[in-house]
C-alpha cells in the first residue's frame, strides 16, 4: 500500500472504499486501519465511505440471535438483571405490571430452587469444554475448576486411535497459533496441567482442539495432523 503523493487522494479513496466494502486482504485491512489511527485524512476518507455504504446494511433482513448472546453479555458485564431483555422491556411497557409481579416472583423462586440444585456441581467444575467432531458427537469432555490448574479430560466417544498415532490437545488462542497442552491417552481419563490458573491460561482461549498426530505428538509445536475435535470453552461463572 503506497500512499505516496501524486494520486494519493484517488488511491486512498479506492482503498477506503474496498476496506468498507470488505474486499481488502487482511494485511491491507490491518495496515489501513493502523494508518487511520494517526492520519486524520485517512480516517476521514474511511468514515466517508462508511456513511455511504453502511446504511445499505440496514436493508438486509434481521436474524434474531440466540437468547444466550444476551445472557453472556449480561453475565460478562455483571449486569444485575440477566433476563432484562425478556423481562425488563415488558416491565417498562406494562401499565398493569403489578399483576405480573406475582407470577414472576413465583417463577423466580422456581428458578432459584433449580439453580440451587445445580449449583454445587457447577461450583467445583465451572469450566467445561465438550470436544466434538464434524458429526457433532462429543468425543472428549474436559472439565476444570477455576481455582485449579488440573484439567480432567475424559474420553466419551470418538473414533478409535490407531496404535501408531496419538491424540494431542491444543488451546486455540484468539488470534494466535495453537498451543499444545500435551498428548492424550487413546481412552480413559487424562489429567492435564495448565501453565497457569484457568483465568490466566484460558483468558484468551475461546476453544480447544484435538488433532491426530504421529505417536508421541507433534514434533514442531504446531498441529501437523488433522484436527479431529474442537470445542468451545464454556465458563459457568
Amino acid at each position: 500500500m503506497n500512499l505516496s503523493r501524486p494520486d494519493r487522494t484517488a488511491r486512498l479513496d479506492a482503498l477506503a472504499a474496498s476496506y468498507v466494502l470488505g474486499t481488502l486482504s487482511w494485511r491491507a485491512r490491518s495496515r489501513l486501519a493502523f494508518i487511520a489511527r494517526t492520519d486524520t485524512a485517512v480516517a476521514q476518507t474511511l468514515r466517508a465511505w462508511e456513511q455511504r455504504l453502511l446504511p445499505f446494511a440496514e436493508s438486509a433482513p434481521p436474524i434474531t440471535p440466540s437468547p444466550q448472546v444476551w445472557r453472556r453479555i449480561a453475565l460478562r458485564l455483571g449486569l444485575d438483571a440477566v433476563r432484562r431483555s425478556e423481562r425488563g422491556a415488558w416491565w417498562a411497557r406494562m401499565a398493569f405490571w403489578r399483576g405480573f409481579a406475582v407470577a414472576s416472583f413465583v417463577a423466580a423462586v422456581g428458578l432459584g430452587l433449580a439453580l440451587m440444585k445445580i449449583a454445587p456441581q457447577q461450583a467445583t467444575q465451572p469450566i467445561v469444554v465438550v470436544l466434538a467432531g464434524q458429526n457433532a458427537q462429543p468425543a472428549l469432555v474436559a472439565t476444570l475448576s477455576r481455582d485449579s490448574r488440573t484439567m480432567v479430560v475424559k474420553t466419551v466417544g470418538g473414533a478409535a486411535v490407531p496404535p501408531d498415532k496419538s491424540l494431542e490437545l491444543w488451546m486455540l488462542p484468539d488470534g494466535g497459533a495453537p498451543r499444545s497442552l500435551g498428548v492424550l491417552p487413546a481412552t480413559g481419563v487424562a489429567r492435564i496441567t495448565l501453565p497457569a490458573l484457568p483465568d490466566v491460561a484460558l483468558a484468551n482461549v475461546p476453544a480447544l482442539a484435538v488433532s491426530l498426530e504421529a505417536a508421541g505428538g507433534s514434533t514442531t509445536g504446531a498441529p501437523q495432523g488433522p484436527v479431529l475435535y474442537t470445542g468451545k470453552v464454556e465458563k459457568f461463572y
Binding site: 466517508a48 462508511e50 455511504r52 436493508s59
Partner: protein, 185 residues
Amino acid sequence: MAALLARVAMGDQAAFGEFYELTSSHLYGVAVRILKDASAAEEILQEAYVNVWHHAGSYEVAKSQPMTWLTSIVRNRCLDQLRRREVDTVTLTSDDDDAPEFDLPSDAMTPAEMLIAGAEARSVRECVETLEAGPKQAIALAFYQGLSHSELAAHLHEPLGTVKSWVRRGLERIKNCLERAGMGR
C-alpha cells in the same frame, strides 16, 4: 437511539437492554451473513456489545448515525476475522475448511435486492438500480456476504480483473450518485 446510547454511556442498564433489543437482530443478520458461522457471529456480537457498554461515551452524534457506528464495529470485526482466516489456513490443517458450513436461513431477498432496498430506503434507488447487473451483483455479494475479489471471480465466472474493475467503478458511481443526492461528502 442516540439518546439511548447517551443513557448507556451513563451506565443505565435498562437503556442498554433496550438498545440491545432494538439493534441485535439487525447486527446478527449482518454478521452471520458475512461469517456464515453462527457461533463466530454470536461471539462477535457479544464482544461488540461489551464494547458498546464500555465505550458508548466515545460515540459522537455529530459524526455518524448510531446504527452506522454499530454496523461499522460489527462488520469490521467480522471482516478482520474472515480475511484473517484466509491467511491463517496454514496454521490449522485444511480440515478446518471442511467444517460444516452454516446454513443461513434462506433469505427471501438476493443480495442485489437488498442493495436496491437499501437505496430505496434512502430515496436513492437510481444510484443502485442504474448499475449494470455484473457490478451490482459483485458489490452486493461482497458487501452482504463478505466475498473477496477472488471469490467473486469464481462465483460470477469472470476473470479477476473484470470483477475488480466492476467493483471499483461501481463504487465510484454509487459515490457520485449519492453525492449528487446530497449524501456523503
